[in-house]
Chain length 230, copies 2
DNA sequence: CGTGTGATTATGTATGCACATATTAGAGGA
DNA sequence: TCCTCTAATATGTGCATACATAATCACACG
């Protein structure tokens, strides 16, 4: 039963912490103690405790020992899925379709945002992402041509705009905003639902250092749910 | 300069990947190769590469080797705020109002979920959270009385149900699901908006080991946005 | 009595080794 | 040709050991 892997050891110790064996902020046994208790090497205990420290369950200090973190941080590590993976994980075929590609003025909501400026030349792209040919998400995106000039002449081929960007331009910071939007007539038609439908909406803006790279809005049809664990 | 720690090695390899030494999706040298090149043990290379894998920079498969991840996944660390903090941070006064408190049968969507069972006795609570007296969010919650029997007779006082729970019952696992919901007549009235309005919706369910603790749904009025950075 | 200094101690990390495990290429057979 | 089984191989993991590093404590010294 006790395989003495660093994983099982980590879970064992986590369980004891959750069960309240030690007070919040209290010192827990040292690596050597656990190693003796579980009959394994100190190296293994070290790996287990380091993992718990990275998770924020415990705090460790040299010479100071390991203690239970006073305030368990309600933190979730959330992976923002790539649309292609999201679709393919659910066993559907992915395809994306470029609806519009042009150079258009920025909408004020973005132009007034951090770093863009109203004179900024930007490419505007609309993409419909499909899962087994049914609409999965609709994307509106602006790309700052001052930061990514090569986009103006880029051939995307099979890639979505996001995939193209991500391969070519790293970013250093991003802001995400989730909300709900009522579909207007056009969105309703595109997503094969009706005007007024409640659309889960993800807004994302990214920067390379201080220069804006791209801003996008993604609309999902009503059935969509964005799941993660804490 | 070359301290040959797993950290410095990790950064060195990261730099080479970012510099484009290998194509996206391409196989990079094996652990043994790096170990020879940098003059360190394979164990050390292993740690470095495992860290990069956790970060999502590379993908590793046994026998398959290590390759640059085709699309680097953006990861976000997201803190789920307590409603009180959320309201008070925006400079408003927080108040919550118990609308309903009873023992009610579970809706099928929850009863069929993991671990609840249809016979389960559960408390049902509805709470309206207010910011400066205006509706901020509406909460519907079920609490498993098998796991938290003391809730049945608990006096909440000024605390919200969530605050009471968080102080008394730890949880080991939680699942969150975000979506958009169209308001029905009642929700529209409670949140001071209209029927059909698009409501940002957060669903959360938590377990203590394998026993369900609580399930709740939170509806936010249309203007609400859930922001975070990556 | 305050202070600096060295001993003590818990964690951090590198190493060499052995073996486990997943995956794939290729050999062998129907 | 196609399938199956086996061997080869890259990563995954555990262990014993040695030494590094940071924080703390005790003790001697001014």
């Amino acid at each position: 039963m006790n395989a003495n892997t660093h994983r099982s050891l980590r879970e064992a110790i986590r369980a004891r912490i959750v069960a309240g064996e030690w007070q919040l902020g209290e010192l827990i046994p040292g690596e050597a103690d656990f190693a003796r208790e579980y009959g394994c090497a100190r190296t293994t205990v070290n790996r287990a405790l380091q993992a718990l420290a990275e998770e924020g369950i415990v705090e460790r200090k040299r010479r100071g020992g390991t203690r239970v973190r006073p305030l368990p941080l309600p933190q979730a590590s959330l992976r923002i899925p790539l649309l292609r993976e999201q679709v393919e994980e659910s066993g559907c075929g992915y395809r994306c379709e470029l609806v519009v590609r042009t150079v258009a003025p920025l909408p004020p909501a973005i132009a007034n945002g951090h770093g863009w400026g109203s004179e900024c030349r930007a490419a505007y792209i609309e993409t419909l992402h499909r899962a087994d040919e049914r609409p999965f998400a609709f994307e509106m995106r602006w790309i700052n041509l001052a930061t990514v000039p090569e986009f103006e002449t880029a051939e995307l081929g099979e890639l979505s705009v996001n995939e193209w960007l991500v391969r070519r331009v790293p970013f250093t910071r991003g802001e995400v905003s989730l909300s709900a939007t009522a579909a207007d007539e056009r969105l309703g038609a595109i997503l094969a639902t009706h005007e007024g439908a409640a659309l889960f909406t993800m807004n994302r803006e990214t920067w390379l250092d201080e220069r804006p790279v791209t801003a996008m809005t993604l609309y999902y049809p009503p059935r969509y749910r964005f799941d993660f664990t804490i």
